[in-house]
């Protein structure tokens, strides 16, 4: 990690950069968005930014983040990048995915 990165990390300390990839206003995507917002407000109030990307409007963006399943939540910051796919209905596993909970050993 370079010095600049470290500085920027400090500046961004604890701030979440989140991207939620969806395809139109499907029940699943709406659900995912509301679930995400709820979790962020509960566990990280005020220190997050959610960008919703509609692949129906910008299909070319799917390639960049290697999006395959929808909805997909990508945590750009803090690094490393994390991906969570699904409607985020299980808060517990979302927190695991966002590294807020210790990851259980997967079977």
């Amino acid at each position: 990690m370079t010095k600049a990165d470290v500085l920027s990390n400090e500046a961004q300390q604890g701030r979440w950069e989140l991207k939620l990839y969806v395809a139109g206003q499907t029940p699943k995507s709406l659900q995912a968005f509301s679930n995400l917002k709820r979790i962020c407000d509960q566990h990280h109030p005020g220190r997050y930014h959610i960008e919703v990307i509609d692949l129906l409007k910008n299909p070319q963006l799917a390639k960049g983040d290697q999006i395959l399943a929808l909805p997909t939540l990508v945590r750009k910051l803090p690094q490393p990048v994390r991906k969570i796919i699904g409607d985020l209905s299980n808060t517990e596993s979302v927190l695991v995915g966002l590294d807020l909970r210790a990851r259980k050993v997967r079977a």
Binding site: A69, L70, T72, K83, I84, L88, S89, N90
Partner: protein, 589 residues
Amino acid sequence: MRLSKVRPAKAGKWLKGLSKCATGIRGLDEITFGGLPKGRPTLVCGSAGCGKTLLGMEFLIRGAVDFNEPGVCLSFEETEDEIGKNVASLGFDVASLVSQKKLEIDHVHLERNLIEECGEYDLEALFIRLGHAVDAIKAKRVLLDSVEALFAGLTNLAVLRSELRRLFRWLKEKELTAVITAERGEGSLTRHGLEEYISDCVIQLDHRVTDTILTRRLRVVKYRGSTHGTNEYPFLIENDGISVLPVTSVHLTHVASNERVGTGIAELDSMLGGKGYFRGSSILVSGTAGTGKTSVASHFVNAACARGESCVFFSFEESPNQIIRNMKSIGIDLDRWVEKKRLHFESARPTTFGLETHLAKIHKLLGQVAPSIVVVDPVTGLLDSGTASETRSMLLRMIDYLKENQITALMTSLTNGSSVEEQTDVRISSLVDTWLMLRDLESGGERNRGLYILKARGVAHSNQIREFLMTDHGVQLRAVYLGEAGLLTGSARVTQEAKDETAALMARQEIERKQLLLARKRSALGAQIAALQLDMESEAQESQQLITQEELKIRKWEADRHGIASSRALNTPAQVTNGHDGKRQRGRT
């Protein structure tokens, strides 16, 4: 040969059958009678390293280049860069196709460790990505390589399976001709049972190693709505892509030509009715080691090249250079034909490939060069690549192919000293039309070569054994010496011939002597006759003189007597005229 053209509909009109999408891959379109089902997905399955991705990529690239059908590759395993490098080795320039918007490669990367699954999801993004790529270049063809990577990346199999089903349906709806690759599973075509979803066309690739030799094979397992070749066809991955060879098709319908081609050896031509072999026939030259099989073959090739025909020489024992050098020693310059591109050498150790691959390579080269003459030297070398029966069936197919294309084939066969001579190790003698047998004739501490024609279908051929001489200006056939001493060759024959010549000379001299003698006798006798005649003449003259003298004497006597008588009559005038009286009187006196 599409089904639609073959089977009339019940109502009496032609059904609109399955339309096909030509792959452009050599041979594959032939065995599928036109290509893959258009607008439908095709499953290509096989174990690792058998060429699935390559087949898929060639399908896309050939489509883009040859058929103006752009294609999208959704690669789950390799990046664009890797794919580009992989197929560059086959002469395909992926980067330029991508820049021309004829090809689109999207690498789908799925890392299970970095993905947390939480709640319901679908694979809509995959559809969006694919759809976006397809729309961007107006693609007609799609390659999914290999979709099974999804099984490793995602845990929710129920979702995955239903999404895959939806994907294949979506491909059909979009009328995209798709190739989906999948790894072979244990006891099933694919590891994850993709054949359940893609049932229109399934192609299985396989590579097997027998006796350390690998042969790739391709089989169309099913093809809904179409007939297809059902065999396993060998295929090659070469420096210009895949070629599948439907080599098992055997029709005995080839045209028999009446044209004759010279053997390159004048004496052999005359042994074969004065004209040589039939065009399009197959010729076997068999013999033990060092009997001159390659020389006979080279003569044939040399003559053909001199006529302006093109030849292919498959050599399984010697390198082209070696053959050229060796043939120079008997005065055949093959080098010039190679330079003029009339003669093509293809040398390979038999063990380099399997039989099928050999056959495939032969087919391929024949397709490129279109020769009128092919030499395989020796066919027995192929025994190293397979069993005798396999080799036989391979050769059978090769001979059929050659005959069908009116290519005259000369094959040499090495006979082992121990085996029966009039039988080839690969048992193809019944398949060939003309069989020349070269054999050693051992006598008088020498080993000489003899040649005879064991059979020549349709040709009035010589039944003689000829002595086969290799001179510095080519092969020569001489009538062998057949005399009281039996069949003689080599120096024994030379000795015998010298003896014969002496005997003949002596006989000739004897005749001349006899004739001279006779002439002399004749002239001597003639002289004698002349002398005798002279004697005779002088004797006759002498006799004549005597006769004349005697006659003169007689005349004188008569004259004398007359004189006396008349004088007497003067004295006695009363001479009685009565005869009786006179006689009586004379008698008394």
